[in-house]
């Protein structure tokens, strides 16, 4: 029979083993100030002007995403302190976004603003809501992103400016360099070959196709009911049959001797995504702690030359990791937006990221790149991938037109 001293040693041993099997968070303590993600929801991504959403306006897409995110979070709409919507192309996205809020059943007492940091707008919305939570302005918020490139095209986006002043200022003039040409600049300057770009693009389609086939997107997607009652629940851009050889036959899209083609660039798309965030304290107070999917651990935006804006992630990712106190080796999944194969591949190589950890379910080349939506869509995909694989840390990053990169670090709950 064990004596009392050995019995109490046994209890200590059991407690130690239990802790080893259920380790605490990487961060020494789970702070009540942590900004946690309670839910993610995104619409399927449609092909602009030809796809299922060609006649669907962005307010309708956004309303679906907002409703899905709120339902999944289990939060009461009136408890939401603010909504931030990333949107790029329309002149005043804040108006239809407010309309979408009401369509989603969120009362007028909940405020809303739009944010535009180009292709990172959906992620910037997450950062804005997280900042407001950390500052104590709100306890619960929704970050969203939406773009209907069927409704508003890339060409409609540039407002009036002074030709004279801009042409006298080289970097300002560089803000007018078409995105495709910035891709050519990156490919030429850093030696990313056409063959490498095509192989990367084919990989994106292959990975997205297998993810779709295995139903990996199902949990993040909220189906959209069209005006005629049709229900859309799958991404449209994925082409399973795409091969590097097939892509090699496409003509350069932006420059005669160029390497960037329609096949190794992101697709023009329609889509929306929404994420419910809260302070950990509020999540517990509202009884939503079991819904916590992850924690935002760091965010950074880096400026880069406008004419090679695609290099942005190579600068933003190290900044964000430093803010989070993590080394790159600890990150299991990277969602790096595939604006162009040239720039995505350059960033992966420059940072020395293990290729298998990058966009394991494909990226914008296959799924599409609805500008304002993309950052929020990537967060949705990342969090589900972290839970699927058991990886602890993930990074979302993208390049930004006019020369920036943004990156955020998430920890799985």
């Amino acid at each position: 029979m064990a004596d009392s001293a050995s019995t109490s040693r046994g209890v200590v041993r059991l407690q130690a083993i239990s802790r080893h099997l259920h380790p605490p968070s990487h961060f020494a303590s789970q702070s009540p100030d942590d900004v946690v993600i309670l839910s993610v929801a995104r619409t399927p991504i449609g092909r602009a002007k030809r796809g299922a959403f060609k006649d669907t306006t962005p307010d309708v897409l956004l309303a679906h995403a907002l409703r899905g995110a709120i339902e999944r979070a289990g939060v009461r709409a009136e408890d939401v302190g603010d909504i931030r919507v990333g949107n790029v192309l329309p002149a005043n996205g804040a108006i239809f976004a407010r309309m979408a809020q009401f369509q989603a059943g969120i009362p007028h007492s909940v405020p809303l603003a739009a944010v535009n940091r180009q292709c990172s707008s959906g992620l910037q919305a997450v950062a804005d809501i997280a900042s407001a939570i950390r500052a104590g302005h709100i306890d619960v918020g929704i970050a969203a992103g939406v773009e209907s490139m069927s409704s508003t095209g890339m060409g409609d986006a540039v407002p009036p400016f002074s030709q004279e002043a801009v042409s006298a200022c080289a970097p300002a003039a560089d803000c007018l360099v078409p995105m495709g040409i910035t891709s050519e600049n990156v490919a030429a300057k850093y030696g990313v070959t056409r063959a490498d770009q095509d192989a990367f693009a084919a990989r994106s389609h292959a990975l997205a196709a297998s993810a779709q086939r295995e139903g990996r997107f199902t949990a993040e997607i909220v189906p959209v009911t069209l005006a005629d009652g049709t229900v859309i629940s799958h991404d449209e851009g994925i082409r399973e049959a795409t091969t590097a050889d097939g892509l090699a036959r496409l003509r350069p899209a932006f420059k005669e001797e160029g390497t960037t083609t329609a096949g190794n660039s992101s697709q023009v798309s329609d889509g929306a995504a929404a994420i419910v965030l809260a302070s950990r304290a509020a999540a517990h107070r509202l009884g939503l702690a079991p819904r916590i999917m992850g924690v935002l651990r760091g965010y950074a935006v880096a400026g880069v030359p406008p004419a090679e804006m695609g290099v942005g992630p190579a600068f933003a990712i190290p900044h964000a990791l430093a803010k989070a106190g993590l080394s790159q080796a600890e990150v299991g999944v990277f969602e790096i937006n595939e604006a162009f194969a040239s720039q995505a591949l350059y960033c992966v190589r420059k940072l020395g990221i293990e290729p298998s950890r990058v966009n394991p379910n494909g990226g914008a080349i296959a799924l599409g790149h609805p500008l304002g939506c993309t950052g929020a869509r990537q967060v949705a995909t990342l969090l589900h991938e972290l839970h699927r694989t058991g990886e602890r840390f993930g990074v979302v990053s993208m390049c930004i037109g006019t020369g920036m990169g943004a990156a955020a670090v998430f920890e799985r709950a």
């Binding site: 064990a2 050995s6 380790p23 600890e330």
Partner: protein, 358 residues
């Protein structure tokens, strides 16, 4: 990734907690064990000999018991003397260190040569210095790392304390193989520390873990390289010249990493074992395991490279067994015929199937 079967599996009755190869006898293994998964009840220090086929050098064919010394609490770790072939030091769950002379113990009813109250809680690890052969180190769940003269276990030479916050457990202690008087410890406060015996201070704190660090080991060829195993499932490789973040992270274990050990023969290879019931061999510079061993049916608690036979590995587990394994890519013939080319070698790894004699 290859999942290789074990060469030999032998029972040791109690749950095994750790093991150590003799630095004198290439066949001899010591295994620290405890009843009821080491949680409550007796412990036993088991010593086994690897029996090889004939003629030598030949692959291991069996593990034969040499002796089994009962203790009143579980044993967590053991270390062979560097100066006396039959001396063995054990870390006991009741806070004591026990030093056995195996020859004497056989004729004296298993009584240890010396037994000393060493820590205020569980002694979790012991290591015998191979450079200062008169010194041993112990660590315990009382936040302490202690250094002792092997011949005088009644009073520590030095007591090194980790900071008082966080979990009190120190889980592992290892002497540096290249610098006398330098030690590394792994502890429950989420850090590994490098200690200088002379100053009695932690020279470096490797802190980027965030959860219990269960194991630490020195690279045998590069003195600035350490590996840690953490309950967050990750093995981290550290360069002490740049200690802020790990230089490598090896992922693959699905639960806490219990032990990490660099190969004494191949500078690339790292051995690990885990609560996930597997052991694995890694190229420390590559992100994925070269081989995994999944034959155990409980936590794998010990994994050690044989000192005389390159590529030979012993593992032990809470499932009450000890097993012998062959590492992939062992030197002297790429996994086949891996006998140490010294006179009188008794053990060899079996030839790989591809090169098996017909």
């Amino acid at each position: 990734m290859a999942a290789a079967p074990p060469l030999v599996v032998a029972p040791v009755e109690f749950a095994a907690c750790s093991l150590a190869w003799s630095p004198y006898d290439e066949r001899r293994l010591a295994v620290a064990t405890g009843a009821n998964f080491g949680i409550v009840g007796n412990g036993a220090q088991v010593v086994l000999d690897v029996r090889a086929g004939a003629p030598p050098p030949a692959p291991p064919a069996a593990l034969a018991p040499v002796c089994r010394l009962l203790t009143n609490d579980s044993l967590n770790d053991c270390a062979w003397s560097e100066t006396r072939e039959h001396h063995l030091l054990a870390a006991c769950g009741d806070g004591s260190l026990k030093l056995w002379d195996l020859e004497l113990a056989r004729t004296h009813g298993g009584r240890p040569l010396a037994a000393a109250r060493a820590h205020d809680a569980e002694v979790s690890g012991v290591d015998w210095s191979s450079l200062r052969k008169d010194l041993v180190a112990s660590c315990g769940w009382d936040r302490a790392v202690k250094v002792w003269a092997a011949e005088a276990l009644h009073e520590p030479i030095a007591t090194l304390f980790a900071p008082p916050h966080g979990a009190p457990e120190v889980h592992d202690v290892r002497w540096a193989p290249h610098a006398a008087g330098t030690l590394a410890s792994a502890s429950g406060d989420g850090a590994a520390r490098v200690w200088a015996l002379q100053s009695g201070k932690a020279e470096l704190v490797l802190g980027a873990h965030g959860a219990d660090v269960l194991s630490v080991d020195w690279h045998k060829y590069a003195g600035h390289t350490l590996a840690t195993g953490c309950v967050d499932q990750l093995i981290r490789v550290w360069d002490l010249r740049r200690p802020a973040t790990p230089v490598g992270v090896l992922r693959g274990h699905r639960l806490a990493v219990r032990r990490v050990r660099f190969s004494p023969h191949d500078s690339r290879l790292l051995l690990s074992c885990s609560y996930d019931m597997s052991a694995a061999v890694w190229d420390a510079a590559a992100p994925y395991a070269l081989a995994t061993y999944a034959h155990h049916s409980e936590f794998v608690t010990g994994a050690e490279w044989a000192l005389f036979t390159p590529g030979l590995i012993a593992t032990c587990s809470w499932d009450g067994t000890v097993s012998l394994l062959g590492a992939p890519g062992a030197p002297h013939g790429g996994g086949g015929g891996a006998a140490l080319e010294a006179d009188g070698a008794l053990l060899a790894l079996p030839r790989a199937e591809a090169s098996a004699p017909t």
